[in-house]
Symmetry: C2
Subunit: 137 residues, 2 copies
DNA sequence: GGTTTACCTAGTAAGTCTGTAGGTAATATA
DNA sequence: TATATTACCTACAGACTTACTAGGTAAACC
């Protein structure tokens, strides 16, 4: 599996926002109920989206969250990379602690690299606006 | 991440076999040392490959494992699906306990389906023979 | 001051990943 | 027949991830 509930919930929430009046702030509670997602769990997801500047947030009554760009300006890739951390097909090809010592001689490396690029291109080619209009590829 | 060490080890082992005399049986110990994989962990992977008929196995001295087809007859997809269980991009689109109740109205479903097909086509289009000859796509 | 909202830290039960440990069964060789 | 060599089997375990829950604090509005 490449995309967990965290990324999928983030996408659903962004689509939900996109379906509403773009000027209106919607409280987390309302989104959570509308999407049947645990309110507390959704908090952690909204925190990520808010911190990254994907949504505006205001406190207090009448507050909540709203998109700050047009739906077509959010790629699915940008949302998934933000919430999932990485969309890499294998852990070994990345830099860092999981990096593989056989990278130099790995006969599968070009395959993983090509797959990573294919997946990235795929997700970067789809926007929230595409999902809104019942995306069919 | 979509492919864990289990699947990657399986691929490496299959490539290792393909580089040897196809008639010769190679003991697990030798493969494990050659690939620097834990012998005990590799046992569990070979058990899967053997049970599925991907390799022949014989007990006793002079025994071990060997391929029973030509390298070009093993797709990467068949090996990964066998060892990983599934290559699905999301858990919710599959049948079974993880199935999503929103399948009917899910606006992202066509996207996941298309991605799954893309990944499947990708892996089914590459064979062990391709990896042998330094696959470059 | 009180309500409504976002924001923050911490914990946790269940599952997965990556192995280990210790045996039994089959085959070849002496 | 005895012994070594190999595959095969069951069970466990520590670290990590996933998908939450619990309980607060801070900001904005009335």
């Amino acid at each position: 599996m490449i995309v967990s509930t965290k990324g999928r919930y983030a996408l659903r929430v962004m689509v939900n926002f996109a379906q509403r009046d773009s000027a209106e702030y919607v409280p987390l509670k309302e989104i959570a109920e509308s999407e049947e997602i645990s309110q507390k769990y959704l908090e952690s997801i909204m925190a990520v989206l808010s911190k990254a500047g994907f949504v505006d947030a205001v406190h207090g009554k009448g507050g909540g969250y709203r998109l700050n760009r047009k739906p077509e300006e959010y790629t699915v890739g940008s949302i998934l990379k933000l919430t999932e951390g990485s969309l890499a097909a294998v852990s070994c090809s990345s830099q860092g602690p999981a990096a593989c010592s056989r990278t130099q001689c790995c006969q599968a490396k070009p395959m993983w690299d090509k797959l990573d690029k294919m997946i990235d291109d795929f997700f970067e080619g789809i926007t929230i606006a595409d999902l809104l209009s019942a995306y069919e590829g």
